[in-house]
């Protein structure tokens, strides 16, 4: 009897323990999520302390009617909704997002519980290569389906030819029953908004800026500091890469490093310059930097690089500037690291991170990889500047993308997707995912003291905390109108791009002259576009 009572008591105690631990783990998981939501807030608090702005810390508005997401900090526009707006009115809806595997996608995926808990909307983020995004979005649009409600709207491969399948975001932004874009459209970097948000005119807004990789120059500062005097003695000028460097100087420096590395004088690198010159989209990007700085361009239609045009007009590649640029590019690649013709942007980054080359025109988002000692032998030895100038200016290729909403989704799904866009592109969210290697697309984020310190003071703690800080001063310089180059935005761009990099690859293989290459691209492009 006593034994039976003892058994019953034991079972009861164990059951109580189990129930309590379940409650406790439920509580801790919730608080864990809340902590997760406040990570950036805490981070922000910390950074603001160091930045001296003295805000009350992230999460101060967490749980309020207007901003259920948390993470807002002083200085950023707030996420605001109309009076009495129910953030959970779309609870139970599932949104599918298809996006390229880029830093903002990884950052948002890591913090998606913040959005899901605030709205009750479930979000599946599918991260794939860009060509898969293009294919799946195309299939969805063609079938008038909304398997994907939110789409990574690459301006050149998706938006240019399929803008009509996206919801006009102006309608949602101006809807008095819905929250509007925090800080307004004017808080987005304007050139990025125009190229990523519109097509053909600015009457309809199809997407909001999401990422903004830009090609700038990565260089080995240890090499440039160590051999500065030697180069000065031999060539008579300061070779440190900077805004005043010309492409001719770049060639001379790269050739000099090749020679000294071969002689065994320079041991840190094997080659002066490396390029992303594989038969791939990367080759078009790499060449375009030179083309723009020589005053050349692909087509004659006005605004083709920003708002875009259905008809790009006649090709301009037979003009002397383009031919001169092609001749220089062929000359430059003849002294580049031999692996250049096998490298796309990732291959080039890996070679640079392995310490093979001293100079590399590369997308600024690779700064995070270069500064990561587990992936790079050159961590702490890399500096960035804008690309060299040519006879007619400068070109830093822009490669940013926006996100938009599939118009074949149901009305509720569209409105739920709008809440996601509001959150995903909000300044406070951009600030929250900085640690994923994200580059903000909002002016307001750049004005924060933390960001200012990180960008402008390489010795600061903020600089060390933010992987991309090393490249962002140069990237911001590259975004200026006089420095940036934006490729043609026209529906037939994938075909034209293929013609360009295929013919350039033939040129680099010595199969045709630079002049013939430009003429061949012009001939094929004009035939394709009917001009």
């Amino acid at each position: 009897m006593t034994r039976s009572w003892f058994t019953k008591l034991s079972v009861l105690v164990m059951a109580c323990v189990l129930v309590l631990s379940a409650c406790s783990s439920g509580g801790s998981s919730k608080s864990g999520n809340a902590d997760g939501a406040n990570v950036s807030g805490n981070n922000a608090g910390g950074s603001d302390q160091s930045g001296g702005s003295g805000n009350s810390g992230g999460g101060s508005s967490s749980g309020s009617t207007d901003d259920p997401f948390g993470g807002w900090i002083e200085g950023l526009p707030k996420i605001e909704a109309p009076e009495g707006f129910d953030w959970r009115q779309f609870e139970g809806i599932t949104l599918n997002v298809i996006t390229e595997n880029t830093p903002p996608s990884s950052g948002l995926a890591a913090h998606i519980d913040v959005f899901e808990q605030a709205t009750g909307i479930k979000v599946n983020i599918e991260q794939v290569n860009l060509d898969i995004v293009v294919e799946k979005a195309g299939l969805d649009f063609n079938a008038r389906n909304a398997n994907y409600h939110i789409i990574y709207a690459d301006p050149y491969q998706i938006l240019a030819k399929q803008a009509q399948h996206f919801v006009d975001l102006n309608e949602l932004n101006n809807d008095p029953t819905l929250p509007s874009i925090p800080g307004g459209l004017e808080d987005f970097i304007q050139s990025q908004l125009i190229v990523g948000g519109y097509m053909g005119n600015t009457d309809h807004l199809y997407a909001l800026p999401y990422d903004n990789p830009t090609m700038i120059l990565a260089y080995r500062k240890d090499v440039f500091e160590k051999y500065k005097d030697l180069f000065m003695q031999e060539k008579g000028y300061d070779w440190t890469p900077g805004p005043e460097m010309t492409w001719d100087q770049y060639y001379e420096i790269a050739e000099w490093i090749n020679r000294k590395a071969k002689e065994g004088v320079i041991t840190e690198v094997k080659y002066g310059t490396g390029h992303q010159a594989k038969q791939h989209d990367s080759l078009m990007n790499d060449f375009s930097n030179v083309l723009a700085s020589f005053g050349g361009d692909y087509f004659e239609a006005p605004n083709i690089g920003d708002i875009g045009a259905e008809n790009p007009g006649k090709s301009k590649l037979t003009e002397p500037e383009a031919i001169e640029a092609a001749e220089f590019y062929a000359k430059l690649l003849s002294i580049a690291a031999p692996g250049s013709t096998t490298w796309d942007w990732t291959g080039l980054a890996e070679a640079f991170a392995a310490g093979e080359i001293a100079l590399a025109p590369e997308w600024h988002e690779f700064a995070g990889m270069f500064e990561d000692p587990s992936k790079s032998r050159v961590a702490g030895k890399v500096s960035w500047t804008i690309l060299p100038k040519g006879p007619k200016g400068r070109g830093n290729m822009y490669g940013g993308t926006s996100i938009g909403i599939n118009k074949y989704a149901s009305e509720d799904e569209i409105r739920a997707a709008w809440l996601f866009l509001i959150w995903a592109t909000a300044p406070q969210t951009q600030y929250m995912i900085l640690d994923a290697g994200f580059t903000p697309t909002r002016y307001s984020v750049y004005q924060l003291p933390y960001i200012q310190t990180a960008i402008n003071d390489p010795n600061s703690q903020e600089f060390k905390e933010w992987p991309l800080a090393a490249s962002l001063a140069a990237a911001q310089e590259a975004w200026k109108e006089e420095n940036v180059y934006m490729r043609p935005k026209t529906p037939l761009w994938p075909q034209i791009d293929t013609i360009i990099y295929t013919e350039l690859s033939k040129m680099l293989a010595g199969r045709q002259s630079p002049a013939d290459t430009m003429k061949e691209i012009a001939k094929q492009s004009d035939r394709l576009t009917g001009n």
Partner: protein, 297 residues
């Protein structure tokens, strides 16, 4: 007498009805996955049909005209002949050679056969990744060996070597399949002709070329049939390693088709290109089946 003749016929007709109903589900599935797409391809090849269009429009022979007058199309077929021809010849020679070696090593034959077969089990995409890493100019082991031998060659970046490299990758992956088929054939060769050849004083080479290989010709043709149909559409390693470059040196017809369909999203033209591949595959298949039938006769 008459009744006796009619009864089996009736039974046969009844059996045919049962057979028909039993086969019907398979036929429907087959129709859904092969016959419908085939007719859809024919339909699409006559339509202006791109993924960014609202509705496909009838285009007559335009897709066919554009495809057949496109230089890249014919150049891609030319490269496919080199890729497929080179690959098949090497696979046949190496596969038969390895099979003969394995046949003559009775000890540990199963172990060696398993080891030889390993590449076949690797997914083609993984094969591409593997070779891309091995030939990478920055950290590729094989590239390093080539450099140590004094050759500063960019194997995947040089049009003269890139095609050889992708042929070699195909050979590495699929030679074991040919080996397996030929080895299976060799194991069916009866002992008597070989003993007779011994009695006649034939040496090892004569036994191989005059007795064994002629007896397994059918198996070799089957191996060629399987691989030739496969190699025409095989693009995985090319996509991963060279993407058709450099200077279009590895742009085979399969890669060209993929580019037209998925990069340019021109379904109409892609259907026309695909149908030309279907015609060539069918002709090749018919040729090998004819050879097989001739062997049987």
């Amino acid at each position: 007498m008459e009744q006796a003749a009619i009864r089996p016929l009736k039974r046969r007709a009844k059996w045919n009805r049962t057979e028909f109903w039993m086969l019907l589900p398979s036929v429907i599935v087959l129709a859904a996955i092969t016959i419908f797409p085939f007719f859809f391809m024919i339909y699409a090849s006559f339509m202006d049909y791109r993924l960014d269009m609202d509705h496909p429009r009838f285009a007559g022979l335009e897709n066919w005209q554009n495809t057949l007058t496109d230089e890249t199309f014919w150049q891609s077929w030319g490269r496919t002949v080199v890729y497929a021809g080179g690959g098949l010849i090497l696979q046949l020679l190496l596969g038969t050679g390895i099979a003969l070696l394995l046949y003559h090593i009775p000890k540990f034959r199963n172990l060696f056969s398993t080891l030889v077969m390993l590449p076949v089990f690797v997914a083609p995409i993984v094969t591409g990744l593997l070779w891309r890493f091995l030939l990478d100019p920055t950290y590729g082991f094989y590239h390093w060996i080539v450099r140590q031998l004094g050759f500063d060659v960019q194997i995947l970046g040089d049009p003269n070597f890139a095609m050889l490299a992708v042929i070699f990758m195909d050979v590495w992956e699929w030679t074991p399949l040919v080996t397996l088929i030929v080895l299976a054939g060799l194991q069916t060769v009866p002992e008597e002709p070989l003993e007779a050849a011994d009695v006649d004083g034939a040496n090892a080479w004569q036994k191989i070329f005059l007795v064994m290989l002629p007896m397994i010709r059918r198996m070799i043709v089957v191996a060629l049939l399987i691989r030739s149909m496969d190699i025409l559409r095989y693009v995985d390693t090319i996509v991963i390693t060279t993407e058709g470059g450099p200077a279009d040196a590895t742009k085979t017809i399969g890669y060209y088709l993929m580019q037209v369909a998925f990069r340019f999203q021109d379904i109409g033209s892609a259907a026309a290109v695909g149908l030309t591949m279907l015609v060539v595959s069918t002709l090749m298949g018919r040729f090998f089946i004819k050879v097989l039938k001739a062997e049987e006769a």
